[in-house]
């Protein structure tokens, strides 16, 4: 595949499809080359990573009362 055939839109799609997978086919190599040369696509790549990171870090703890109600409901209270 020639470099000019890879558009930014294709790169964005590819980033969303293959993030987290270690792919080394010709298309991936071409996409990686494009990312090295295109700051907009690099920014896009980073923003997808940040999106995932935001949802990973947003956690809630089981309230103590909810734990007690669960154990009671299951007949497993101490």
């Amino acid at each position: 595949m020639k470099n000019e055939k890879v558009t930014c839109k294709e790169v964005m799609k590819h980033v969303c499809e293959s993030l987290g997978e270690n792919l080394n086919d010709d298309r991936c190599i071409e996409i990686k080359k494009h990312l090295d040369l295109c700051p907009n696509c690099r920014e896009y790549f980073k923003s997808v990573e940040i999106t995932i990171d935001c949802y990973r870090k947003y956690n809630v703890q089981v309230p103590e009362e909810a734990h007690d109600r669960l154990m009671k409901m299951l007949g497993l209270e101490e």
């Binding site: 839109k9 920014e43 940040i50 995932i52 949802y55 089981v62």
Partner: protein
């Protein structure tokens, strides 16, 4: 105690072992249910339903998959049942994924407070964005990207094919990224 032994004891009626299993997974299940429904009361209800199902059918667990994968399948089903029951939110259709890559807005991502896990503004935006995504897509995104299951495990939990998991995942990622981009523009 090793999990396999704990499960075997719980299967043979040991209440202490069963309580330990529940305690080992309640945080994961509650957190996951919250991430799907974004509501603490519904998350508690789903957690109770999930462990009730687990206790009822633990004797059928055969160690062919990890207990966590088995539990994810149960909690995922309860989340989908709850979403169907509530049906109070219109979801954005992702059938045409071309729109997902149209950039009308340009946020400055370096200004997004993503390292501040307690930032209330960000939490509201994240809740709103994921609630616009249909629960089927939410499930795949959360299992694969947030809980860290493999594509194969995600397919097993959701009973989807691997290409279907990949397709939902890339649309969900692009959609959520787009929603956050617009919110911060």
């Amino acid at each position: 105690m090793e999990e396999k032994k704990l499960i075997e004891r719980a299967q043979s009626g040991d209440k202490k072992a069963l309580a330990d299993l529940v305690k080992n997974y309640e945080q994961t299940i509650y957190n996951f249910a919250f991430k799907i429904c974004r509501d603490k009361n519904y998350a508690e209800q789903i957690m109770q339903d999930t462990f009730y199902s687990m206790v009822k059918s633990l004797h059928q667990f055969d160690h062919n998959s990890k207990l966590s994968t088995w539990l994810y399948r149960i909690v995922a089903n309860h989340c989908l049942m709850m979403a169907r029951k509530l049906k109070n939110h219109p979801f954005v259709s992702l059938d045409d994924d071309e729109n997902l890559f149209e950039e009308k807005y340009a946020a400055d991502w370096s200004s997004i407070p993503y390292k501040d896990t307690e930032n209330e503004e960000l939490k509201i935006i994240l809740d709103k964005a994921i609630q616009n995504l249909s629960p089927d897509y939410r499930l795949v995104f959360l299992l694969r990207d947030v809980e860290g299951l493999s594509t194969e495990e995600t397919a097993q939990v959701t009973e989807l094919t691997i290409p279907a998991v990949k397709s939902r995942l890339h649309r969900a990622r692009a959609f959520l990224r787009k929603e956050i981009n617009e919110a911060f523009s």
